[in-house]
């Protein structure tokens, strides 16, 4: 952010934020990104499923980790992207950052849902329960709610600029609130039941597991970026459609 305060950086930022330039640039990036994502994910999957050892405690279920952890990572990364884009949108008033924030939300929400779901499928064989109101799971669930609220707000307000401002405020308040929620939940949970029932931090990761986990993490992130670009392109087109329609109605009124 600090670098953007210098005039040249700001100009460059605005140049890239120009929708026409964005469309031109992103159209060249999308196809290679798809290929790269699929390749990395394919390699990751191979190691995750076939070429990594079972855990000595958790057995084969540890393979769930290779989709669970990257999903959980993206759930936070997605919110980070959304909050950062919202802040940029509020400060610089550039519509492309609103587009970015709006497009990141459904992707982040999907991966948050996936993190919850795969966590549940991991929890049942390991802890004997599909769901436990432990601090970490509860705060991820609340993060999911924040995503849903953000998406609902966008869907409710018709006019894009007004919707973008309101949604940006919500995303930023949420960003400040997440650590507070997290700590309150930890405090709440330890108050009611000892934290010793189970913990997410199992044995430290063996190097043989680090490779598939890293590959999957990179693959998921690449996929996130690709999806973000595609959704942003769709959003830019949606706004073009909106303006064309406004122009059609306006021209009809003149003629």
């Amino acid at each position: 952010m600090a670098a953007m305060n210098s005039p040249t950086a700001l100009q460059r930022f605005h140049a890239y934020a120009n929708p026409a330039r964005f469309m031109a640039l992103s159209s060249r990036l999308v196809a290679p990104l798809w290929i790269l994502s699929v390749l990395v994910l394919g390699a990751g999957l191979w190691f995750a499923l076939f070429d990594s050892p079972p855990d000595y405690q958790q057995g084969e279920t540890v393979r769930i980790m290779y989709v669970h952890v990257p999903s959980a990572w993206l759930s936070m990364f997605g919110y980070g992207v959304m909050a950062f884009a919202s802040a940029v949108g509020l400060v610089f008033r550039h519509p492309l950052s609103d587009v970015c924030a709006k497009s990141a939300a459904p992707i982040g929400a999907s991966f948050t849902f996936l993190a919850l779901l795969t966590g549940s499928l991991w929890g049942q064989p390991m802890w004997g329960t599909w769901w436990e109101w432990d601090a970490r799971m509860t705060s991820v669930l609340i993060l999911f709610f924040l995503y849903l609220g953000y998406i609902a707000l966008w869907a409710t307000i018709e006019e894009p600029v007004r919707a973008a401002r309101a949604a940006a405020v919500l995303a930023l308040v949420g960003a400040i609130n997440i650590p507070i929620i997290r700590y309150s939940v930890v405090w709440w949970n330890t108050l009611h039941q000892p934290a010793s029932v189970f913990r997410m931090d199992g044995p430290s990761i063996a190097p043989a597991m680090l490779l598939p986990l890293g590959l999957m993490g990179v693959g998921f992130t690449l996929l996130f970026i690709t999806l973000l670009l595609v959704r942003m392109r769709a959003e830019v087109m949606r706004r073009r459609v909106r303006n064309l329609r406004l122009a059609t109605a306006g021209a009809a009124a003149e003629g």
Binding site: E158, R245, A249, A252, A253
Partner: protein, 208 residues
């Protein structure tokens, strides 16, 4: 059934709104091909009379009778009522709106082009209603009159938000409707220029 044999009669009609007698002892009769223009100051009951004719407001006293129409249906079900509210949904497109009216009001399966053409909205057919201007919304609302054939038109200030060209277009449609033996009851401040239209001045009855 030829609709020119129709006649709409109101006998000794009264309307009470919120404990206040808006009008009383109001009578008129209208034959197919005739128009009735309601005039009078605000609050004289022009809108109330139209809503009573449409069956949207209870009749305090008196009766409304439609002779020669479909005996199975109330007068309101054989009338179009175009009030101040345009009954449009912003997220539906122009053509979807008209198709819905045709299916719901007239059980007519398809075809909306004639109505849109008549009101000069055909080129906006696929546009969502949210993008329309006030005048375009008004015209779409009035497209109902053409989309579903009904003998009685009840129009409450139909020219509001319309420009001169659209008013002329509406007038043409109204004349066409009368020419086919339909009836029009319209409340308006503007002189519509309908030749041979009867005039009913509201507000005078209560004062007299």
């Amino acid at each position: 059934m030829t609709i020119s044999e129709l006649s709409l009669c109101a006998r000794d009609l009264a309307c009470e709104r919120g404990g206040r007698l808006v009008y009383d002892g109001l009578s008129f009769s209208l034959k197919g091909g005739e128009a009735l223009v309601l005039t009078g100051p605000n609050g004289a009951g022009k809108s109330s009379l139209l809503r009573q004719l449409a069956g949207l407001l209870d009749v305090t006293r008196g009766e409304i009778a439609l002779e020669g129409g479909d005996p199975e249906r109330t007068p309101g079900e054989q009338a179009h009522y175009a009030g101040h509210l345009d009954a449009l949904k912003p997220s539906m497109s122009v053509v979807e709106t008209v198709i819905f009216w045709r299916r719901f009001l007239g059980s007519i399966p398809q075809g909306a082009e004639t109505a849109l053409e008549a009101l000069g909205l055909l080129h906006l057919a696929d546009l969502p209603v949210a993008y329309l201007s006030a005048g375009q919304r008004r015209r779409l609302s009035l497209a109902r009159l053409i989309a579903v054939p009904r003998p009685i038109w009840l129009l409450d200030e139909p020219t509001v938000a319309l420009d001169a060209a659209s008013v002329a277009r509406l007038l043409g449609l109204m004349k066409g409707h009368l020419g086919q033996g339909g009836m029009i009851v319209a409340a308006t401040h503007l002189d519509l220029g309908l030749e041979g239209a009867k005039t009913l001045r509201l507000g005078a009855e209560v004062a007299a």
